[in-house]
């Protein structure tokens, strides 16, 4: 049996010590009515008849499992040159990230309940918290949430806890992938969630300020927004504070290599997706939700938090702290129900940021911006192709195509092994002809050229 080491002799010896006759006796606590007949299967022979329940396939050797999974992996299109973003980006991951993050002492550990034997992960998490604070310009961070969407939801709940107000204003330029999650989570709660429709890919500042009142807990914005547009939201942060509300920003960490930080703009809570910090795309997860905030709100912040302290010999060490807020103590009054989070992903992120370093992150950000700007120039030079909006963008931009449905054009380009971008019609019904194109440091000048040629041919 795979991974089960017992011999028959050992089983017998153990049963003797227990005082039971057979392993079956150990399950006597299960009422017979609940135990369906499970026929005994020999390890090697095929069953004579299908079992009536628990009808699962027989065991496969490691060799056979690898073969099967390899075949399945090959049935996915990874040969496409990708310009797809939407919040999840194909960035370069240095080899050392895997080598270090896959160290088994990290991978096979559990939540560090015994700090003395878990200083490795605890220090790595403290360093991760520190890195995120420095990146976003904020004061404290938690040790990770599930992804950028649940992080935004947790920020919403946190703002409601802090202000004790029921209304949330969310910009329609915030990722629709996240906004639909917010809709789902608030269904059964007494929360008023209002979306401000975008105006040509930009925040409708007038409408947003009009909606601000003394029932507003928070205003939620994204930078760069879902259309890739870069903004300075200091004015809206001030407006929110003027109404006694908090300001929440969802941000793209790589962009913070060069862009004005949410801390500089005065935001109270910052969330985002950390996938771009050394995590593979992995078809939707595991990802990394991060949250940073002002220190005055730290007791209302969900998630694990690692703090520095000393032992009896004055040596520095790290522990999980402020646990009284968490589910295992506070139970139904906890700040969140989160227990397991994305710790290993956070370790990947801090390893990535350490490898890339201060200069490196700025370089990666510049490369993304420069290559995207080049792509934007090449593509808008095509007849009929226009930028959705004239504003500055980072590594992603929305193009209005001279067709009815951008999705058709994308399908055509797949034949040429190019994933040209993400058609927005699915999320924004009046933008059926708009394509969202992302460019990272991995895309070459040649690949961008191919995209431009192929797009021109298709139109």
């Amino acid at each position: 049996m795979p991974y089960i080491p017992h011999t028959e002799d050992e089983r017998q010896a153990m049963l003797e010590v227990i005082g039971a006759r057979s392993v079956d006796d150990l399950f006597a606590g299960i009422p017979p009515a609940l135990r369906p007949t499970t026929d005994e299967l020999s390890d090697s022979a095929a069953p004579a008849e299908r079992p009536t329940t628990f009808d699962l396939p027989p065991a496969m050797s490691e060799f056979a499992v690898r073969r099967k999974l390899h075949t399945l992996a090959e049935k996915n299109a990874t040969h496409l040159v990708s310009f797809v973003g939407g919040g999840f980006y194909d960035h370069f991951i240095p080899a050392a990230v895997d080598a270090l993050a896959n160290r088994t002492e990290f991978v096979t550990a559990y939540t560090p309940y015994q700090p003395e034997m878990s200083q490795g992960i605890l220090q790595a998490m403290y360093e991760y918290q520190s890195a995120l604070c420095r990146l976003t310009g904020m004061e404290v961070a938690n040790a990770s949430l599930y992804d950028g969407g649940t992080a935004l939801y947790e920020a919403m709940m946190m703002a409601i806890r802090v202000t004790r107000r029921p209304k949330i204003i969310i910009d329609g330029c915030v990722s629709p992938i996240y906004r639909r999650m917010m809709d789902c989570y608030t269904t059964n709660l007494d929360i008023e969630l209002i979306t401000v429709e975008p105006r040509e890919g930009r925040t409708d500042r007038q409408e947003l300020e009009r909606l601000l009142d003394d029932r507003t807990a928070a205003v939620m914005l994204q930078n760069p927004n879902f259309f890739g547009i870069v903004d300075d939201f200091t004015d809206l942060v001030n407006a929110a504070h003027g109404a006694g509300a908090l300001a929440v920003a969802s941000v793209y960490p790589v962009s913070l290599g060069i862009l004005k930080t949410p801390g500089e703009m005065g935001f109270d809570i910052v969330t985002g997706e950390g996938q771009s910090l050394g995590l593979p795309l992995s078809f939707g997860g595991p990802y990394l939700g991060f949250m940073t905030c002002l220190k005055k709100h730290v007791r209302k912040m969900p998630g694990r938090i690692i703090g520095a302290t000393r032992d009896g010999e004055e040596r520095r060490g790290f522990v999980m702290t402020l646990q009284a807020r968490e589910q295992h103590i506070r139970r139904q009054k906890a700040t969140s129900n989160i227990c397991s989070n994305e710790a290993l992903c956070a370790v990947r992120a801090v390893i990535y940021l350490s490898l890339i370093g201060k200069r490196g992150l700025a370089s990666v950000a510049r490369m993304c911006a420069a290559k995207a700007a080049y792509a934007r120039r090449r593509l808008t030079a095509i007849d009929g192709v226009e930028a959705l909006c004239d504003a500055p963008t980072f590594n992603e931009f929305a193009l209005s195509l001279p067709v009815e449905n951008a999705a058709e054009v994308v399908n055509e380009l797949i034949e040429k092994n190019i994933a040209a971008g993400f058609p927005l019609g699915r999320y924004y019904p009046d933008l059926q002809n708009v394509l969202l194109i992302a460019v990272t440091e991995k895309r070459t000048k040649e690949e961008i050229g191919l995209l431009a040629e192929a797009l021109e041919a298709a139109l």
């Binding site: 049996m1 991974y3 089960i4 080491p5 227990i18 299960i30 299967l41 027989p58 065991a59 050797s61 499992v65 996915n76 050392a96 270090l100 896959n102 990290f106 096979t108 559990y110 003395e116 034997m117 200083q119 403290y126 360093e127 420095r134 040790a143 599930y146 999650m181 789902c184 059964n188 862009l259 930080t261 992995s282 997860g285 595991p286 990802y287 730290v298 690692i306 302290t309 000393r310 009896g312 040596r315 520095r316 589910q327 989160i338 227990c339 290993l344 992903c345 370790v347 350490s354 490898l355 890339i356 370093g357 201060k358 370089s363 510049r366 420069a370 700007a373 080049y374 797949i414 993400f422």
Partner: protein, 481 residues
């Protein structure tokens, strides 16, 4: 050990980056740019490699030694799972690809993995369908609570409460409260089972659901569980199964057959995906057929021609609890695990998990207080109350185990046992490992009489000794700036 920020020098080059190919001038206006650079480390690749290698050596995983954390199911994480999750076809796949070409034709392999795992989990638990979206166990609980809310809303509403035994894991009441319900805690009897009289009194027509784990957090199977299910259903409520302890009953009985309507599983427990120091995990949720319509959007269906498609058109779906399809990288590992074990392997897993826990209980019952007589299932709970007479507490026993090369069991949980030590060996541990652990526990019990001070000083073999948690909570040094 220094922080990574305390290493390096200004200007030291980091790791190699892709070729720029273009001049790096920005056409973003200066007022949109940050004023100062992010103060990230300036270290070499070797600096980073040494730093995190040294950190890893200050950590302890299942691969290092015995890790009997109760209700965490720290079984061996097969390296087979690590390997298959790195296949390029899975790893490099962008989650928006299925939305580029109708029918998800670009991602058939990944969709097949999700679908097949879903079918296997249905068969294992006796449920009609699963959503793989929840990203952890507690996330699965919240999803389950939302499904229950949707079900009752569609049936007319009026259900505001969820019953939770006081022996439950903290995520249960937290999830219920966050899902918008009033939590009604019911006291447990001597065996950690819900007091049936108290339960009957609490059960009214406002109860949306009862959240239970089976076996319970004491490792005991409730003989009245079917009655509880029947009573709950009669009162119009649903039964929720917290799958944390599924490892005890694989192949022996199924939550669906007991009468549970909503089930969440912890893939990072029962299905051997690594814990990663606190995640990533996955908490898929299974439901009875009456609730299938409410499952989160994007279910994978197999069409007649054998291809797989994502269904987005479920009108009554609660929507999206995750951005996409769940933690796919974790799902792949769990899938490989179920394939490798097969029917017989999963049954044997439960059998040996229960055998191991009972063996530990049998060897230790004369040296520690045992709150509950008789056999246990996959985990046993001891109490260190006897040892407190010498001013030795569960914490001290835990710290002494660290010095002997073991990760301690869970301490002080469940709350209903004083000085609790909750031990879950799992099936992947051999008899000699269990013997070494029991020998160490017995030695510690003896030291309680002969040299308790030594236990209170433990651990002494780790990079740091006991840390001042009070100072941590007061000083709140949560980041280096």
């Amino acid at each position: 050990m220094k922080l990574i920020f305390e290493k390096g020098v200004p200007g030291r080059p980091g790791t190699s980056l892709p070729e720029p190919e273009l001049p790096l001038d920005l056409d973003i206006p200066a007022e949109l740019l940050r004023q100062t650079e992010a103060e990230l480390p300036e270290v070499s690749e070797l600096d980073v490699v040494r730093h995190f290698t040294q950190l890893s050596r200050r950590n302890f995983g299942v691969d290092c030694g015995f890790y009997p954390l109760g209700s965490c199911t720290m079984k061996y994480n097969p390296k087979l799972g690590d390997e298959v999750s790195t296949y390029e076809g899975f790893r490099e796949l962008h989650p928006l690809l299925p939305q580029l070409r109708i029918g998800g034709m670009l991602t058939q392999g990944a969709l097949q993995v999700i679908h097949e795992l879903e079918r296997l989990l249905c068969e294992i638990t006796g449920m009609a369908a699963f959503t793989m979206q929840p990203l952890a166990g507690a996330h699965g609980e919240l999803t389950g609570v939302m499904l229950i809310a949707a079900y009752h809303r569609a049936a007319g509403g009026g259900k505001t409460k969820i019953i939770v035994p006081d022996s439950a894991h903290g995520t249960n009441p937290a999830s219920a409260a966050i899902g918008g319900f009033q939590v009604v805690p019911v006291p447990s009897d001597r065996n950690g089972f819900m007091d049936l009289d108290a339960f009957r009194k609490a059960l009214d027509d406002q109860v949306a659901a009862v959240m239970l784990t089976c076996p319970n957090t004491l490792g005991l199977f409730n003989p009245h569980i079917k009655d509880i299910a029947d009573l709950t259903h009669k009162a119009g409520g649903l039964m929720y199964y917290d799958g944390a302890n599924l490892n005890a009953i694989l192949g022996k009985c199924r939550p669906g057959d007991i009468g549970f309507d909503v089930v969440h599983l912890n893939l990072h427990k029962t299905f051997a995906t690594p814990h990663g120091g606190g995640g990533p995990g996955a908490g898929p949720v299974g439901v009875r057929s009456e609730l299938v319509d409410f499952l989160p959007t994007s279910l994978v269906e197999k069409r007649g021609d054998g291809t797989y498609v994502l269904r987005y058109d479920k009108k009554n779906s609660i929507g999206y609890v995750a951005p996409f399809y769940g933690n796919f990288g974790v799902l792949v590992r769990a899938y490989a695990y179920v394939l490798a074990l097969g029917r017989a392997g999963l049954i044997k897993a439960a059998e040996h998990a229960v055998l191991n826990a009972n063996y530990v209980l049998a060897r230790l019952r004369d040296h520690f207080d045992v709150p509950y007589d008789g056999l246990c299932m996959h985990e046993c709970v001891l109490s260190a109350e006897r040892q407190t007479r010498n001013d030795v507490h569960a914490t001290d026993i835990a710290k002494a185990l660290i010095d002997r090369g073991f990760h301690p069991p869970t301490v002080y949980f469940p709350l209903i046992v004083k000085e609790a030590l909750m031990i879950e060996p799992t099936e992947t541990e051999s008899k000699d490992t269990l013997d070494a652990f029991c020998d160490a526990m017995i030695e510690i019990a003896e030291l309680t009489e002969t040299d308790p001070e030594a236990l209170r000083r433990a651990p002494v073999s780790t990079p740091v000794s006991r840390l001042d948690e009070y100072a941590a909570a007061r000083e709140l040094d949560l980041a280096s700036h």
